[in-house]
Each structure stands twice: as C-alpha cells, then as structure tokens.
C-alpha cells in the first residue's frame, strides 16, 4: 500500500542527498574531532562547516551555535543553563502553557529546585498575548521561554513583540523553534531572541543532531559537563555524521524554503477546506498565523487514536493530541489550555505536510477521511450530540 506521510511534525524522512553527505563520516572518516592527526582534524573541519550552515539558516554567527543531540536536550540546556547562570539576579522564569514537554518539564524541575515559574495562559488560538507576558514579569524574572510555532496546532507566536518586552526588562529570551526552523524563516536577530532551539529531524536531517543558539557573550551553565567539545559548553564525543547531516539539511532547507512553503501551504489550504466541510469538525490553532504545512482539527464525538488507526489502515499517517493516542494517556495540555473541552480534545487529529506530499495525496485523504469520521460516529454513543451531562460547555477539564 502506498504510504501518505502527513506526520512531518513527528519526524521527517532523511533526504537522500543528506545521507550521502553523512556516509563518509559513517565510513572512512570516523575520526574523533579532538584527535590531532588528519583523520581527527578533517572531522573537526566537517563539524565547523556544518556549524556555519546551521548558523546561516538562522542568521547567526557560527560560534553561537552549540550542537546537542535533540531538540529536547537543547530546550533543557537553555532553560536550566540560563536559570542557573543567572540565579544570583533572580529566581523567576516565565514559560507559556503551550510549550513542548521538554520546556514545561524543565520548568517544573526548576520549580522543584527553588525557582518560581509562571505558566502563561494563551488565547483560543493558542497565542500568547504580549500584555499577558508584560504583567507576569517581576523584578526576579531572568528568563522567558516561548515556543515559536506549536507542533500541535501550528500557531506561530508573535516572538518579535514578546522578545522586545523581555529585552526592555533586561530579561533573557529563549524560543523553542524546533517545529519552525527549516519550515518557515527563522532569524535570531529578526526574532530578537537570545537563545533558540532547533532540531535537524524536523527539516529532513538526521535524528541525533540538534542545536541551541546562544547569543555571543551570554553565559550559560552546561547541561552535560566533561571535555572541551563545543567550547566547553557541551561535552561528549561529537556525533560527527549526524552533525554533518544537520549542516547539509540546514543548507538545503534554506535554499528550498520559499518553494517548500508555497508547496505545503497550497496543499494545506486544500486539506483544511476539504476537511472542515464535514460537520462538527473544527480547525484548531490560528487560522492564518500558522505553519504553512500544518492542519490540525478536532473532530467531534469520536476519538483521535481510532481515527489514526483507520487512517493508517488506508496508508495515511497522521498524529493526534488525544489522551489515548499519547503514551502518557493525557489529552494534549495545549488543546486544553486553549479552552477546548476535554471531550472535544479527544477528537484531535493533526496533519503536517512536507515537500514530498502531492496534491494527489490530499485528494486521497479527502476521499477517505470523511468515511472514517462517519464510521466512527456510527459506533459512537454521542453521534447525536454530547447529551445533557456532556454538553460541550460543561466538558471543561476538571482537575
């Protein structure tokens, strides 16, 4: 069966050209970049070239890019590294409620370690209002971390405005751009951020390579201590092939970005138009300020994982923020924080598009998906509505 992959926010296939670029470093160029002989110095050179390419993707200086093993590591590094480095100035940090788990749980870890954390609410589109941030700032605040684009609802935050508020107050600003870098223009100076996380596997690069941008001159406490790799800021023998792959991926993403955005946006618009024709299906996230390849919905009266299984049986791969589809068995906190009732949030379904998706893929999806919705609604006890006790208005998450 032909597979239609609509889950680019989960991960991306590794592009052939990128694997080609990596292969020498998986074969004869196996040297440790710290070794002084040529086998080592070639590996070091390869890393530094990759650093330049990654830096160029985000408009940064190469020396400001620190390679990590994952977006999650970059986020942990940013939050804890800055909170610790600045703890003498204050012990309050601010994050939004729509952050990735790696930011949220780093923040909670800091909370346990004696920091105070404000979790900023968002509007119904998952957007942080600049005013909300302004009000949350105290004299103790040292760090604000707001996600650039949401992997769950596609909403793009007004980072420029938010970072300006932080700057006015002499507060360090981090943005998690894992879901956006390589998918929309991301420029650290445009955005006005001090730190920014990105991950290669979100733009056709390899798993195992990600990076944290740290504004030159900003002190950060390492997350992984040891040798002098990454200028003493991140120890461990470098994953040379993956880093080289990330460089190549960044280079290609930069070159192809306008075309890719145009391509996926066209498909996405068609997808959204087609799917929202079905009754009781709602677009989640911002209608316009969203990732160009991101289409996310709540389908009423049925559950996300069941949709995913039926879609998968048709060769369609997508994602869901429902409780049952998450291994943690909790409905997406992002959806709930946007005010979506917990019962409706169970019907979450997310399609994220990539360069290799075609119009025919969308046609196929649109021909199959409405039937799947109907079939599951036939099985659902709520096909006629949530009923008295389960009215939408009442399904606000208890807790």
């Amino acid at each position: 069966m032909k597979i239609r992959y609509f889950d680019h926010v989960a991960t991306n296939p590794l592009r052939e050209e990128i694997l080609e670029a990596m292969l020498p470093y998986l074969k004869e160029e196996f040297g440790n970049p710290l070794s002084p002989y040529e086998l080592g110095t070639r590996a070091r050179t390869a890393i530094e070239e990759a650093r330049e390419k990654v830096a160029s993707l985000i408009g940064a200086k190469p020396s400001a890019v620190i390679f990590t093993s994952s977006g999650a590591e970059a986020n942990n590094f940013a939050l804890r590294g800055i909170a610790l480095a600045r703890q003498n100035k204050g012990k309050h940090i601010i994050v939004s409620r729509v952050e990735h788990h790696s930011v949220l749980n780093s923040a909670r870890f800091l909370e346990k370690s004696g920091f105070t954390v404000t979790f900023l609410p968002v509007d119904k589109h998952g957007m942080v209002e600049p005013d909300t941030l302004k009000k949350a700032i105290t004299k103790e605040t040292t760090l604000v971390s707001i996600i650039h684009a949401s992997p769950e609802v596609g909403t793009i935050q007004p980072i420029k405005e938010l970072s300006a508020i932080a700057k006015e107050n002499d507060i360090i600003f981090h943005t998690d751009a894992v879901a956006s870098a390589g998918n929309i223009p991301v420029d650290v100076n445009e955005l006005g951020v001090d730190l920014l996380s990105l991950a290669a596997h979100q733009f056709y690069g390899p798993k195992g390579a990600a990076a944290l941008y740290v504004r030159p001159g900003l002190r950060i406490v390492p997350l992984i201590y040891g040798g002098i790799q990454e200028n003493g800021r991140r120890a461990g023998t470098e994953n040379v092939p993956a880093i080289v792959g990330m460089g190549k991926a960044a280079q290609m993403a930069k070159a192809e970005l306008p075309e890719k955005m145009k391509h996926v946006k066209k498909l996405r618009d068609k997808l959204i138009e087609g799917i929202t024709k079905v009754e009781n299906v709602y677009l989640t996230g911002h209608p316009t300020e969203r990732l160009p390849g991101h289409a996310s919905f709540c389908v009423e009266f049925i559950e996300g994982e069941a949709m995913l299984l039926m879609l998968a049986a048709k060769g369609i791969y997508a994602a869901s923020g429902s409780a049952c589809s998450s291994k943690a068995l909790k409905a997406s906190p992002v959806l709930l924080s946007m005010g979506i009732p917990a019962s409706l949030a169970q019907g979450s379904i997310v399609f994220t598009l990539g360069s290799e998706n075609s119009e025919e893929d969308i046609d196929y999806l649109l021909s199959e998906f409405p039937q799947i919705i109907s079939r599951l609604r036939e099985i659902s006890p709520y096909a006629g509505g949530w009923g008295n006790t389960e009215e939408k208005g009442q399904c606000i998450p208890k807790k």
Partner: protein, 146 residues
C-alpha cells in the same frame, strides 16, 4: 502495537448499535478521559440472547466492546458476570499494558447493563450495585521495555 484480534475487532466491530427494546443498558467511562462504552443486552430465560454496543474511544476500547458483546451472547447472567478485564484482554490476544485499564471498560459496562436488567426485573443484588474494581493480576501482552 495491537494484536491481530484487536485490529480485527476494531476494523470490523461486531454488534455495533443499540437494542431498541433492550432489557438492560450499561454505560462506563467519561468522554473527558477518552473512553465511554454503552452496552445494551436482550435477555431471555436467564440467557443473554443479544448484545450491542456504542463506544467513544480508541482502537482498544472499540475492540474490547466488540469482543465483550461477542463473548456474552448465549451466556447466562451468572456466566456473563464472570467476564473480566483479563478474560476480555486474553480473548483479544492481549492488550498493551497502558491500555489495559483505561480502555478496557467492556466488562464494567456489561456489568452495569446486567445490574440495570436485574433492577428492572426487581432482582436484589446488593453487592453488584457497586461495580467490582479488582486490580488486574496478569497482563498477557505488554510492550517490551516499558
């Protein structure tokens, strides 16, 4: 992730629907948590001669509902009450550990349907009024390494 039997019962669920003149109806779960099962039964001469279900929930929940309605048909009320989470999971070739408790509500919904039937019949079942909540002892097929 799911066994063949689960996928079969999910993709081709048996006994979907509601029995219009049901003798007992039971519901278990809450849509805010993810899974709700509604089972209706038809009883004749102390035997369950028909069972239907409606389920809001994941693949496991739908497969469990389908399997429970299949298992229960032809059974006496007493026999039906012996159906447990574990026997349902076993009949389905196992369930992932994480789905064992949250999506495996079929036996509970069935029990509620039987209670409903009994109360309509005026049968006294002081104990059964409270759904037994036994901890599962065996989960046959769990995901490795978690």
């Amino acid at each position: 992730m799911y066994s063949k039997e689960v996928m079969d019962h999910f993709m081709n669920p048996r006994n979907v629907g509601e029995i219009p003149d049901a003798d007992g109806v039971g519901e278990e779960g809450n849509p805010t948590c993810g899974d709700v099962m509604k089972i209706s039964i038809k009883v004749k001469d102390g035997k369950i001669i028909d069972a239907k279900f409606k389920t809001f929930g994941c693949g496991a929940a739908i497969a469990v509902s389908s399997m429970v309605t299949e298992m229960v048909k032809g059974k006496t009320i007493e026999e039906a009450l012996s159906i447990s989470k574990e026997t349902v999971a076993e009949a389905l070739g196992g369930l992932p550990a994480q789905k064992m408790h949250c999506s495996n509500l079929g036996a509970d919904a069935l029990r509620r349907a039987i209670e409903d039937y009994k109360s309509k019949q005026g049968i006294q079942t002081p104990k059964a009024a409270k759904t037994k909540k036994k901890k599962a002892k065996t989960v046959k097929k769990t995901r490795k390494g978690t």
